[in-house]
Amino acid sequence: MELNFSKEDLQFRDEVRSWLENDYPKHVKAKQDNAEPLTRQDMVDYHKAVSAKGWMGYNWPVEYGGTGWTATQLYIFNKEFGLAGTPPLLAFGVSMVAPVIYTFGNEEQKAKYLPDILEFNTWWCQGYSEPGSGSDLASLKTKAVKTFDGKHYIINGAKTWTTLAQNADWIFCLTRTETTSIKQEGISFILIDMKTPGIEVKPIITIDGEHEVNSVFFTDVKVPVENLIGEEGKGWTYAKFLLAHERFGIASVGGSLRALNKLKEIASNLENTDLDKKITELEIDLNALEITELRMLSDLENGGQVGAESSILKIKGTEIQQRLTELMVESSGEHALLYPGPHGFGSNDKPSGPDYSADAVSKFLNMRKTSIYGGSNEIQKNIISKFVLGV
């Protein structure tokens, strides 16, 4: 039994750290460290820098231009990026649609889409949730009807909670190509160019004042049948495959460690023993979460399987992220009532009081989504109950 990383892994960690110190774009780092909003171009610059290093395909096999990393390397990569406070890498292209394309797509599709994803020439978004379907994803209603000549689908319906659709070039959608008695059947996985006529993106402003998510409406949107991935009606299978692909990193250990360290530094100047105790409890929680993730990693690396236990990572990871922002609000005291809005107070006009309080509540409000999306924490507990406890 050995918790330490191998020499190779330590070398890899040093390489990641070196990149973060030298090649993580400075203008992005500056804004990110000051909690200033990033522009679309900032995000593109950042992703292209990662791509230039050859790390964009962090969870892809080598044959498609991926890194072919071990689970441990991927863990180290995630943790170090989190510790450095980088923006999370956008998952929609590289980590969500790409594995579906290289696993179930045909050669033309692989050639058409994968290189642009690797180089971040295309920004993807995800068309899963609909106004009526939340945790019950399979109840989706967006329709794709084949034209008479069989060359196109005509798509009608609406998707919602679509993250950064306002920036996206492409969207991958679950659509209903057939109405069946079993709702998981008749679903197809279709890629749609966001410039296609008939697509309308409407912002949803969230309680933190941000425009991060959108509703996307489809009115008679004409899509070539070549954009169907795999077989018609098998979309649900691909969707489940995709979900299984985004397990690791969900614990956000690196990012939470960074936030914890900041919180500890703040608390050390406050002489508030109540806060100290809460932080200690949270630190132990985070420690337990990290070892739990490493245990699953160790199982994987040693030929084992990790199943529904990984829902623990989602549940505890999001609880810890939320709790960190709660304690940051608490440490702001009465100054928590100030609201900078999504674009900050501006540079000349900051209120006095602790500077960390400026975005404490915004972050707190933003983090509320984490226990809701990606399968709410209640759904995760259902999964553990069914698949781990067998009840």
Partner: protein, 364 residues
């Protein structure tokens, strides 16, 4: 023993409720928040006409002589509708403080508050005093020059006058000063709950001696009673928010279908809503206790306000967080009341001392 409201109190409650239901909907509120103004002048004038701005003031000053019970009723209803008008700062924090002082012009000021023509803010907070309001660094010199910076002055940007806490002759003192006086500069900021506050700097602002409205123990009493009453009011507001949170969540889960049935069928969600209901009821009980203690001016009144506020901080955040969670994606949308209850309850926990602060005060 009788813990039911009197007939007059029930009538008051119904009148306010009717106003909120008919004339204060979500979209109107959003409009005002997004406009240049921090509140709606017509609404404020309506408050004046209804006599609500006169409620807590002594009859001598032209008020209705109502007390913490009526204020709690008002604020609970305001909490349900998330009323943003600056009642707390002008009427409760500043108005009652002045009314309780021996300031010679107080009748004039209270009358103008009641008519809706005057806004006053209490400048009690500073960047570094973390809930200890009796030791400001703002000072009044022996030749009555005021120096220092106050922040988080609620509605400060709209205030015609300010009540400022400061140190004078090594004691706490309270002074009244016109907001447009030379030497006063101001920055305003939005607050999380859609209101506004100001950071105000005083630089050699000369104060008339008659405008020093309290010093020493008298100033401490005036300030603490005013803040205690305001703490009670925001707690009542929180109870309003909390009861709306569970009622709206029950209604939503009954309508929202997932997996072929309303999600209110899921036992985990049922028990979560029961917990929200229980927290709300327990807070209401503490509110009743505290408002009766404040009403009778008992020795224990600050203690019971602290007990209430400590619980409100915990239960309020719990209720709103669960309401958001059970609303799913809709819960984090700015277009629904639910998320705004969460913001309000965060603000209320932060105002006048959070849970841990009041637990310590309660235990003293």
């Amino acid at each position: 023993m009788n813990l039911n409201f009197s007939e007059e109190q029930v009538m008051l409650k119904e009148t306010i409720q009717k106003f909120c239901d008919n004339d204060y909907d979500f979209y109107k509120r959003e409009e005002v928040i997004k406009s240049e103004n921090d509140f709606d002048l017509n609404t404020w004038n309506l408050f004046a006409e209804q006599g609500w701005l006169s409620m807590p003031f002594s009859e001598d000053s032209g008020g209705f002589g109502m007390g913490p019970i009526e204020l709690s009723i008002l604020f609970e209803e305001f909490g349900k509708a998330l009323v943003i008008e600056p009642y707390l700062s002008t009427v409760v924090l500043s108005g009652t403080l002045i009314d309780n002082s021996s300031y010679e012009h107080k009748k004039d000021i209270i009358e103008r508050i009641c008519s809706g023509s005057l806004h006053i803010s209490l400048a009690y907070a500073e960047a570094k005093n973390s809930y200890n309001y009796n030791l400001p660094s703002t000072s009044l010199s022996s030749d009555l020059l005021l120096n220092g910076t106050k922040n988080l002055v609620l509605n400060g940007g709209n205030a015609n006058k300010l009540v400022v806490s400061c140190i004078y002759n090594e004691e706490l003192a309270l002074v009244i000063v016109n907001a447009d006086k030379d030497g006063i500069s101001m920055n305003t900021f939005p607050t999380v709950d859609g209101q506004s506050c100001a950071e105000i700097t005083f630089e050699n602002v000369s104060i008339n001696s008659e405008d020093v409205i309290g010093t020493g123990d008298n100033a401490i009493t005036l300030l603490n009673n005013s803040i205690s009453l305001a703490t009670l009011c925001v707690s009542a507001e929180a109870v309003g928010c909390m009861s709306s949170c569970y009622l709206k969540t029950v209604a939503y889960t009954k309508e929202r279908e997932q997996f072929g049935q309303p999600i209110s069928n899921f036992q985990v969600l049922q028990h979560r809503m029961v917990d929200m209901f229980i927290e709300s009821e327990l807070c209401r009980s503490l509110l009743i206790k505290a408002m009766l203690e404040v009403d009778s001016g008992s020795d224990d009144m600050h203690k019971h306000v602290s007990g209430l506020k400590a619980q409100i901080g915990k239960s309020g955040k719990f209720s709103a967080q669960q309401a958001v969670q059970l609303h799913g994606g809709m819960g984090v949308s700015d277009e629904l009341m639910i998320g705004h209850y969460l913001k309000k309850l965060i603000v209320i926990d932060a105002l006048f001392g959070n849970t841990d602060h009041h637990l310590k005060k309660y235990a003293q």
